[in-house]
Symmetry: C2
Subunit: 219 residues, 2 copies
């Protein structure tokens, strides 16, 4: 699906090294169907992952079912690294997706051998942390309108296109932004009425008609 994208250069990840004889084959690719679970909260964290195509959501549940999606991981993103030996959140495919799985122990053993790879992983962690910190600001201090604006701009930037093809449902968006699907829907409609975005008939894509206005809302 995302095949044609010139591998978001911003992220600067190398393609999985195939030739490079000095580096052993570290990862195995895995294809996931829509909503298929990659790992669950509490599973042994034997692997961590890199997204090749599609999107993965990582989330946590409260006992009564409330859900918080901590992040959507797009091609190039690394996720699922843990300090302990259990995954502390679950990961599912938002839509059909492909990932590369890396044995976790490789990380420790290769850390010294393959400095570049270790560095890449550490960088991925730092990027996750930065995203998490920005997202806390969003969750704790922004209004529904600001949340949606931030979300759309972020997605557009990461996908490198003003015509955002949403891989996720309204429910996913709501659970990521800490609001309800009704509020997501109402806010999008409101933005459409103000001619800031366009919502085509099949609701899974959004055209950002007026990015400047969105940025003004974004705080």
């Amino acid at each position: 699906m995302q095949t044609a994208l010139p591998a978001p250069a911003i992220r600067g990840y190398a393609e999985p090294v195939r030739r490079a004889p000095e580096v052993k084959v570290l990862g195995a690719t895995r294809v996931l169907a829509k909503d298929e679970e990659l790992f669950g909260e509490g599973d042994r964290a034997a692997f961590f992952y890199k997204v090749v195509s599609g999107a993965i959501r990582t989330s946590k549940l409260l006992s009564d079912g409330r859900r918080q999606i901590s992040a959507f991981h797009l091609p190039g993103d690394i996720f699922g690294i843990e300090a302990g030996d259990e995954h502390r959140f679950s990961a599912e495919a938002v839509d059909e997706a492909t990932v590369i799985a890396y044995r976790r122990c490789s990380l420790e053993s290769f850390a010294s051998q393959d400095g570049a790879f270790a560095c890449q992983v550490v960088n991925a962690m730092m990027r996750s942390l930065e995203r998490a910190q920005d997202h806390m600001m969003l969750l704790g201090r922004k209004s529904a309108l600001e949340k949606i604006a931030t979300f759309l701009l972020d997605l557009a930037e990461r996908l490198g296109d003003d015509h955002v093809d949403l891989p996720m449902s309204r429910t996913d968006i709501a659970d990521h932004l800490g609001i309800t699907i009704e509020t997501v829907s109402r806010t999008l409609t409101q933005l459409e009425r103000q001619n800031i975005i366009e919502l085509p008939a099949h609701r899974r894509s959004i055209q950002l008609t007026n990015k400047a206005a969105l940025r003004r809302l974004d705080s």
Copy 2:
């Protein structure tokens, strides 16, 4: 606003740590007065830090002044590591505090030499990430009551005492939990009326009388 403490408002860097001969001299200790800034959003990230005593808050501001405190760092915690060369949030002393500053370049250069230290730093980052993820759940999906319950239990655990001596103001708590000071105040009063906590006259400490009840509220 620096409260007019008679103590020297600005204290420079002290001598490098002398004790702990097994650890190379990596850092310089620094003492901070209440509300003194350790670094600001956008400052060059030349150092990262470890808390020795007291508490440090790291926060971000929105253009209109809304603030989100991403974390309170207590003795032993490491914070301020960045992927880029700028700090992405600011750090201030909640109360009088002591930290050790580590040159950031030490990290890269010592990573190979001093595996143990590098490991400690990576672990600190992972712990930060875990905390951030838990906190996103709190910010996005918990009610004010649940937020306060979670906060009190977490603090009690980290400080290792059911009699929590709050180092921070109501404003700090509010900005950490994504609510207002009025809501913090009302919620604490409510918990007191239900005999779940006790609020002594000087409002900077809280006795957790009924932890079980708190845990039930915590979700």
